[in-house]
Assembly symmetry: C3
Homo-oligomer: 355 residues x 3
């Protein structure tokens, strides 16, 4: 099964999170996406540009190049390309061969990040990206913070496996988020569609954990629900909700929602870009709770545990000759759904498209 | 010829030295043996355990896991295995599939180290291990010291070649043990069987070397004999004996025996575990002569020269496309015997076993 | 096209620059040439010796060996070889098998460096090396300085591409030699033969650049000509000439010639030896202008830019699966000629030789 099946890598006609907006500047940046080198930069007006990262002339990396206005000039021989990939200059000649151009990758910037379309540019439709207002990223009721980034030395599906499987938390994150309290381990309620997987965990009646008591100014019993949605192939949004359990006629009330934001993008065959942020819809204002949480040692430590797990499994796969046999357990249902969704997106691209 | 023949790696139905006893503790340790990952730990009662080092669920390395009583709990999702490899817990489900278990490797602990059986567990018979009392390791007439360990970045047979060939000593060890004094270079007297090779060097009448004079409190002429036995496929024991040459009727007398102890175990295809110790049967007591010798700069430097030679030849093989042509000389007779013995042990495993 | 064509590496029946003379001493030095290990040393009389760098016995690298008179003694088992490659000693035996010898590589020492013949020794004719007097290296009218060396982590043809293409200078060397002043970018006048390529650039009437004014004690308009010759497969000599443009009847006069000296030798399939020096035929005497120039930060920085470009392209090729498509532009004419010359030298060796 994907991701251990040879020749079954990643769907290309898809939007992927490519970078935090702040990473793309007037200094060209190389970033590999789906095993291809891209170069990212901004025009003078501030628009993000994504072009093939390899000069078609001699293969020099355009990440080592410089900008001339909105054009990018190869650092080796000065061939210059416009933001649309067309060539504006070949030193020593007037004629520009038609083949001398860079592939241009459609980009779409929203919230704090930049999406890139990795496949046929003619099919790039920004409305295919989950609506960032609807998924709370740009909803003014939320205060969100992004900026965490890891380059993961492991194939991307290992990160999706991880994000689709809450049951690793009490074990892998024992020393960051805390260990197994019994209640955390559940088979989630799962729903899925052709390009999404939704999971829900419930803790119907627990003592409010101390850090939530502090956040909400509430002591007592609470109900927690944990709902996550994987928008294949790149984005995961988690809604972590706490409800008071009223002892009087007031009944149950939502104390607040914490948002966990994750994006996963294939870099090369065996490495991955991982983007992460946090959000909340209560106690809005400065200083930002989400920013403090996102940049906290606890969150960074926990996410590094995830990155380490992906690295260790990747190393195990490599040292075992490129593959591994696996046993699936009930707790894997969501991860397996996620793999099937990705696999079917890949498979779909192999089919002739009906016109 | 082995070890330069493709697909001819190592015999599996054999005992190998896996670790120094002190290396195996209540903290799980990953160690690759014959190109497979194993995890070693001790039960609460102190028994050494060797299990497959890769969780069958998602391939997470069990060397990154923790113990729960005598069981090992995977650091990623908490699957837990007993010391016999059977699964005692899959979080979120009661049923344990039969396939969810770890291969268990028979171990045998004796003297200062732990042996592991790398092949079919049904054939693991500890009596196949050379009797440690008979080969002087646990003989009370000896005071022995172990604990030297190197991870050698070269295929294991390069270390056996080295140990079966005393003639490298005056050259490779010129700056540690000292150079060519003529007498050291000899064709040894060789005997061998299906799984052993024995070599003997003699220096019938030499001036007692200063460091031996100091050890034995003896000045004058001596006879030295140097007898080594390779117990294929892992162990080498060297008996280094010095005899006084009597000038009166007292005649010749054994001044003492120094024991050199070496074990070699394939880690991966191109790396090796190397264990080494020293012993003596004279001047018993504290402080231990053997311990001082084993941990001396001279011994460590000399052994690092051996490890370096294996690394350099491995690099040469790799850079030469994975193979090398060799010329054999008379001094190689014991090493060639050793290669033949190992090769025949591998070959034997390919034959159908008569019932 | 070479160098991106599989199985088309380098011509062997050729002289290559192997080392600076000062690199070859009484301490054996390993250096890979055309993907083979060689060992270089000097006899007691000072003659440079090049032998196969791998002991035929066990493959130990002879670069880790020591000299006994004019012979080299393997650091592992003491097999000893004469400067002609024949074996003078196998410890423990008198008889020397005929196969026990090292391949000997013809060498030729001239100016400040040592050439090696990488192919059939019977064809090694020093007169095939460009005459060092004629190409100004040993011409007493010149004061030349060598000694720059880089081990380039890229295939050798990337360095020839670079040296045959002056148009990278204003871009790659913008921060060392200075940027594009328009005049530097030209299609050179190219001539070529079966094993050479000659290029010529001209700047017919420019203001004398400050550093040349300082060198020549001349202010005013100058003509600069830049003539380079690639003596395939290893050597490039550049004549950088400045002529005053007389305002009176005196007419035009040669102010001086600066010599740029480069040699490129394949080390392994994907790495290269790069040797570089400088010379001049004016202001002879001490301190040496050329030595100051060769060892200046500006020259070293610029050459490191070239080495970096080769490394970056090599990495791009490797990450792209071992090949790259390229677009050729007019400015590549000399580099393409250079590739064709090398390719035809390789091709010629595949033909049966007429007798």
């Amino acid at each position: 099964m994907h991701p251990l099946k040879e020749g079954c890598y990643a769907p290309r006609n898809q939007w992927y999170v490519a970078a935090w907006s702040s990473e793309i500047t007037r200094k060209p940046m190389e970033r590999w996406i789906l095993n291809e080198p891209l170069v990212f930069y901004r025009t003078e007006r501030g628009e993000a540009v994504a072009l093939a990262g390899r000069c078609p002339h001699r293969g020099f990396p355009l990440g080592e190049s410089s900008l001339v206005g909105d054009d990018i000039e190869c650092g080796y021989h000065g061939l210059t390309f416009r933001a649309d990939g067309s060539c504006s200059r070949i030193p020593t000649q007037e004629a520009i061969p038609a083949s001398c151009r860079l592939r241009s990758y459609p980009v779409f910037e929203d919230w704090m990040w930049v999406w890139v379309w990795a496949g046929d540019p003619g099919l790039a439709d920004p409305s295919l990206i989950p609506n960032h207002r609807e998924i709370s990223l740009t909803d003014p009721a939320y205060q969100n913070a992004g900026g965490n980034y890891w380059h993961v030395p492991g194939r991307y599906m290992l990160m999706h496996d991880n994000l689709l499987d809450g049951n690793h938390v009490p074990f892998l994150h024992r020393h960051s988020f805390g260990g197994d309290d019994g209640g955390a381990i559940q088979i989630p309620k799962i729903q899925s569609g052709p390009d999404w997987v939704e999971c829900e965990f419930n803790q119907p009646d627990i003592q409010c954990p101390p850090f939530l008591s502090q956040l909400f100014g509430y002591e007592g019993r609470v109900r927690r629900t944990y709902r996550s949605r994987f928008y294949a192939p790149s984005l995961h949004i988690f809604y972590d909700q706490t409800w008071s359990i009223g002892t009087d006629s007031a009944g149950s009330k939502l104390l607040g929602t914490i948002l966990h934001i994750h994006a996963v993008t294939p870099a090369t065959l065996h490495s991955t870009h991982y983007f992460q942020g946090e959000g909340q819809n209560f106690s809005l204002g400065e200083p930002s709770l989400s920013e403090a949480f996102r940049s906290s040692d606890m969150v960074k430590r926990a996410l590094e545990e995830d990155v380490t797990a992906a690295r260790l499994i990747e190393e195990m796969i490599q040292r075992s000759g490129g593959t591994l046999s696996e046993i699936l357990v009930r707790a894997d249902s969501a991860a397996v759904k996620g793999r099937r969704v990705i696999e079917s997106l890949i498979e779909k691209e192999r089919q002739p498209v009906a016109v």
